[in-house]
C-alpha cells in the first residue's frame, strides 16, 4: 500500500488520487455494507421481537431510507472540514450501529414502548449514514473528475449493498448471531475512522478524535467478547418470545412470555407451562387422583403456585378445602392479582376454599397435620441438591403421614422417555416410604412425554371417575397413560435418600447437565 504520509503530502499532483483518497474510496464500500447491515439488523430484530415481519421490515426500511434523506439534506450545513466531520460521523455510526443489536435485545424487556426505542435508533443511524456519501463526494471532488467520482462512489455503494444483503442471511445471522454481527460491523466503521485519521495525521491534529475512536473500538471489542453474556442477560434472545413480565424474587427468576395467544411461564429459564397445552399436563396431574378418591374433601397441593392445578381441583364440587404450599409469595401474588394471569387459573387462588401458604414445603410437611384426601406434588425438576430433598424417602414419609387412609397422591416426576431411571426412582422412593406406587405418563407437546407417579397406602385401582368437560382425559386415554412401552418401562433404581440424592445425580446424567 502507498505510504499514507508521503502519498498525500504536498501539492505536486493536486488532481491525482492520494492515499487518503484511496482509503476514502474503499471506505465507500465499507460504509455502504455497514449501512445496509444495520438496516437489516433493525428489521430482523423488529420482526423477531414484535412479530409480523412484513410490517416490521417495511417500516424499518422506510424510516431508515427517509432518515438517510434527512442526513443528505443536513450535509449542506457542513461548511468546512468535511473530512473531520466524516471521521466523527464514522465514530458515531460505529458506536450506535455496533451496539444496535445488543442494545435492542437488552432494551426490549425493560423499556415501556419498544417501538419508540427502535425507531429512534433507526432514525439516528439512518441520518448518520445519510451524511456519509455526500460528505465523501465533497471530500473527493478535487481528486477525481466529477464523472469518474460519481461513477466510482455509486458503484462501490451498490457493491457494498450486494455484499451486505448476501452476507447477512447466509453467513452473519447463522454463524455470528445478531449481537455479534452488530459489533463486527461497528468495528468496520471505526476502522474507516482510524484509517482516515492516520492518513490525516500530518495535516491536522487528530488526538481527540483518535481517543474517541479508540474508546469506541475498545467497547466494541469488549462487546464482541461479551456477546454470550449479553445474550444471556437478554432474556428475549434466550426465550425467543417477547417477555411481558420478568422479575427476580429472592427464590427464583420469574419470566412470562407471550406470542399471540401463547403465554408461557419460565422459572429460572425452565418452561413451566404453555397455555397451548397446559390443560394436558394439569388434567393428567389432577384427575387420575381425584377420580380415584371417593370423598375428596381436603386437597393438598405442594408447589403449583401458578394456581393451574388448583383450578382443576376446584372444578370438583366435592372438594371443600384446598391447601396450597408454595415457596415464593411473588408467584402466588402474580397468579392471584394480575388479571391476565388470574384468568388462566380461573381465579383459583382467590377462591374462598383456597388457603395459600408461602413456605418451604420441606419444612412445612414436618409440622403439618393431615389427613388430606388427595395430595398433588408439583415441584420443579430435581436439578439441584436442594430441590432433590423434595423427592426423598424422608420427605415422602412425612407426606404419607398426611395422606388419609383411602387418599391418593401424585408426583410430577420428569420425563420417563428422556430420563427413565430418574422417573422410576420416584416410584422406588415412594415405595420405600411405605406407599404403593403406579406410574403414568402423558404427552404434553411443550415438554414432550411427561411422567407422573401415583401412590397410596394400598395399590391405586384402575377404576376412575372423570368429570364431564375435560379436554384431554377420557376413560380410554386415562387407562392408556398407565401403559409403558419398553423404552420407558420400569427398571430397577436406587431409593432417593437425603444422604445419597440418587435422583439429582441420575437426573443430571440423563438430561446431560451434570458437569461435575
Amino acid at each position: 500500500m502507498v505510504d499514507p504520509v508521503t502519498g498525500d503530502d504536498g501539492g505536486a499532483q493536486p488532481d491525482a488520487p492520494g492515499s487518503l483518497a484511496i482509503i476514502l474510496l474503499v471506505s465507500v464500500l465499507v460504509v455502504a455494507t455497514c449501512g445496509l447491515i444495520y438496516e437489516l439488523l433493525a428489521g430482523t430484530l423488529a420482526s423477531y421481537l414484535l412479530g409480523d415481519s412484513v410490517t416490521q421490515f417495511s417500516t424499518v426500511i422506510g424510516s431508515y431510507l427517509f432518515a438517510m434523506g434527512i442526513g443528505s439534506y443536513l450535509s449542506r450545513h457542513v461548511r468546512h472540514n468535511e473530512i473531520g466531520v466524516f471521521v466523527r460521523v464514522e465514530i458515531l455510526i460505529a458506536a450506535l450501529g455496533g451496539w444496535s443489536g445488543a442494545g435492542l435485545f437488552l432494551l426490549f424487556p425493560i423499556v415501556e414502548d419498544f417501538r419508540v426505542a427502535l425507531y429512534a435508533l433507526v432514525l439516528a443511524i439512518g441520518i448518520l449514514v445519510g451524511l456519509e456519501i455526500p460528505l465523501l463526494i465533497r471530500i473527493l471532488r478535487h481528486r477525481f473528475a466529477f464523472r469518474d467520482l460519481v461513477s466510482n462512489v455509486l458503484t462501490y455503494d451498490y457493491i457494498g449493498a450486494l455484499i451486505a444483503s448476501l452476507l447477512f442471511p447466509l453467513v452473519l445471522v447463522p454463524w455470528l448471531g445478531m449481537i455479534r454481527t452488530g459489533f463486527v460491523f461497528g468495528l468496520a466503521n471505526v476502522g474507516v475512522a482510524v484509517a482516515s485519521l492516520i492518513a490525516l495525521r500530518a495535516r491536522q491534529s487528530i488526538g481527540r478524535d483518535l481517543v474517541a475512536a479508540l474508546i469506541v473500538l475498545a467497547s466494541l471489542v469488549a462487546g464482541l467478547f461479551a456477546a454470550d453474556h449479553i445474550q444471556r442477560w437478554s432474556e428475549v434472545a434466550f426465550y425467543g418470545e417477547p417477555v411481558i413480565y420478568a422479575r427476580s424474587t429472592p427464590y427464583q427468576r420469574i419470566a412470562i412470555t407471550r406470542r399471540g395467544e401463547d403465554l408461557r411461564l419460565y422459572l429460572n429459564g425452565n418452561l413451566q407451562f404453555s397455555t397451548r397445552d397446559e390443560y394436558r399436563y394439569h388434567e393428567a396431574l389432577v384427575w387420575p387422583v381425584l377420580g380415584r378418591v371417593a370423598h375428596p374433601r381436603q386437597v393438598l397441593i405442594l408447589g403449583g403456585g401458578d394456581g393451574l392445578a388448583a383450578r382443576e381441583v376446584l372444578r370438583d364440587p366435592r372438594v371443600s378445602k384446598v391447601t396450597l404450599v408454595d415457596l415464593d409469595p411473588e408467584m402466588t401474588h402474580l397468579f392471584r392479582d394480575v388479571p391476565q394471569l388470574a384468568q388462566l387459573n380461573r381465579h383459583s387462588l382467590s377462591s374462598p376454599k383456597m388457603q395459600v401458604i408461602n413456605g418451604d414445603a420441606f419444612r412445612w410437611v414436618r409440622k403439618a397435620a393431615g389427613p388430606y384426601d388427595a395430595i398433588l406434588i408439583d415441584f420443579p425438576d430435581p436439578t439441584e441438591f436442594s430441590l432433590g430433598k423434595l423427592y426423598t424417602e424422608s420427605f415422602y414419609r412425612e407426606v404419607a403421614r398426611l395422606l388419609a387412609p383411602a387418599g391418593v397422591l401424585t408426583v410430577q416426576s420428569t420425563s420417563p422417555l428422556v430420563a427413565p431411571r430418574s422417573y422410576w426412582t420416584v416410584a422406588s422412593t415412594l415405595e420405600a416410604a411405605g406407599l404403593s406406587a403406579r406410574g403414568y405418563h402423558a404427552y404434553v407437546p411443550s415438554f414432550g412425554e411427561w411422567g407422573f407417579t401415583m401412590a397410596a397406602h394400598s395399590r391405586p385401582g384402575d377404576a376412575v371417575a372423570l368429570p364431564a368437560g375435560l379436554r384431554f382425559l377420557t376413560q380410554a386415554s386415562e387407562r392408556a397413560m398407565f401403559d409403558f412401552p419398553p423404552d420407558m418401562a420400569r427398571r430397577p433404581t436406587p431409593v432417593n435418600r437425603l444422604d445419597n440424592q440418587a435422583l439429582v445425580r441420575s437426573f443430571a446424567e440423563e438430561w446431560g447437565h451434570y458437569d461435575g
Binding site: 429472592p250 420441606f362 419444612r363 436442594s386 435418600r497 444422604d499 439429582v504 451434570y514 458437569d515
Partner: protein, 536 residues
Amino acid sequence: MADATRRDVLRAGAAGAGALSLGSCATPPMAGTLDGSDWRRGHLVRDGKFPPANGAEQQAAILIAGGGVAGLSAAWRLKAAGFDDFVLLELEDKVGGNARSGRNPVSAYPLGAHYLPVPNQEAVALRRMLKEFGMIVGEEGGAPLYDPYQLCADLEERLLWRGSWQEGLYPSSGLTREDAAQRDRFAQEMAQLRNAVGTDGRPAFAIPRAYSSVDPAYTGLDRLSFAQWLDQRGYSSPVLRAYLRYCCRDDYGTEPEEVSAWAGVHYFAARRGWAAGNDGDRELTWPEGNGRLVSLLRDGVSDHVRAAHSVCAIAQHGDHAVVDAFDHNAGSTTRWNAACAIVAMPHFVAARVAPGHASEGRFRYAPWVVANVTVNRHPKGRGVSLAWDNVSTGSDSLGYVVATHQSASGGNGPTVLTWYLPLSRTAPSEARKLMMTRTLQAWQRLIADDLLTMNPDLMGAIDRIDVWRWGHAMISPTPGFLSDPARRAAIDAKPPVLFAHSDLSGLSLFEEAHYRGVVAAEAALAHLAHPFESLA
C-alpha cells in the same frame, strides 16, 4: 500457591485497613458485628483483679467450673445418674463454649463447631446422649439408626479446583500419575491404621482418644511432626500435601509442621463410625451447628447453671474444694464450698485459677476467626451445585458451610454462610494481637474478597458479615503433647479437684469434651458414693 494466596489475603486485609484509616468512605459501611469470647472477662481472670470473697459461703456437693461442652456433659452425666446437688458456673452470659450459636431472621448459624461425626462403637456415653436427644431413632441389625433429617444431607462437600466446583474435597482432575499414586498409597495406609490394633488389644487410634492403644509403635508418632512423618514416608505430592494441610487446619487450626504425627494420623485413622446402613461415615449437623447439642444439654440442667460467673480461684481446703467466683452482674465475689470441683475450663485458664493443681505445660492454642455472612441468594458456581461444605483450593480460608443446608429445600433464597479461618501461619500470640486490632470493616473486606473470589456470583448479594474471634479456639496437638507431664497430672487428678476438658485429649472435638466431662462426673459421683452405672 497456598503461600502466595495467603499473603495476598493478609495484604488485602492490611490494604483494606489502610484504605479505611485514610478516611475512604466511598462505600457505606456494611452491616455486621465484631464479637468474640469475652476477653475483658477472660483477662480479668488472667490479671487476678477481683475483690475478695464476701458474704455467706455457698454450698454444692459438686461444683462444675466452666459451661462448655465438657462442663455441660459433666452436668448431663450427673443428672442422668439422678444426682441433683451441683452447680455449674460459666464466665460468659451463655453456655456452650466454642459450640455456641447465633441466630438472625434468615437462619440460626454456628459461631464455631458445626457438626458431630457419627460416633465410633467405643463412644458409649455419647451414643446414650444422642438417643436421649432423638438423634438415634432406633436400631437396625444391632447398629444404631440415625435420624435422616439430622444426618448431613447430600451434597456434603465440594471443592473449587482449577476454576470449577467438583464433588468431594480431594482434587479429581489434572493429577499427575504420581499425585494419584500417592493419594492411593496414603488412603491405603490410613485404612490399614484404622483397623490396626496395638499389643494391648486396643485400637491403634480411637475416639475418645483415651481408648487408643498405648503401644509405643503408635504413641511413638507423638515425637515427630506430621510433616516430618509425611516426608519420611515419601508423601511429597503437592496436591496430597495441600489436602493434608487443609485437614490439619480444619481439625486443629494448626499447620502440619506443628501438629504431631500421632494427631495427624488420628484424623484419618480414628473414625469408624457405627451406624445402620451406610451411615457410618456421615455427620450429624444442624443449622446452628453444635449449638443444637449445647441447647439440648443446657435444657436438661438449666436450673443448675449460673452464667456470668468468673471462677477466679480454686483450692483444696481439707478434703473439700473451695472455689471463688466473681458474679459480673452483682459485682461481687462469692466463695463456694464443694465436696468436689470439676474444672471444665480450657487448660491454660485452669492452670491460672488452680495453680496448686494444674500447671501450664505445653498447651498451645490456635486462634480462629469465624464469620457468618448473610447473603440474599444461594451461592452458585461452575461445576457441581452448592454443597454443605464449600472449600476452595485457592484460598487460605477453609471456605464456608451453608447454614440452611439441612433445614430448607429449593429456591435460591437468602441464607447464612459460615466462613472459617484458622490463623495458623503466624505465631498464635501475634495472630491474637492482629485479631484484637483489626477493625470490623477490615475483616469484612477481607472476608467478602475471599468469598467473592470463590463465588463471583455473590457480587451484590452480601447483606451483612458478623465476625466472631476465638483467641483460643482449639488446642494444638503439638509433637510431644502426649507425654507432657502437665497433661498427665490433670488427667490423673483425684477428688476433690478434677479436670475435664477436650484440651486434655489434645483434640478439640465434641466427642473428647463429652468423654472428659462424663469421666470426671463419674469420678465425682464415686467420690461421693452416689450409685451409678458407668458409661465410660
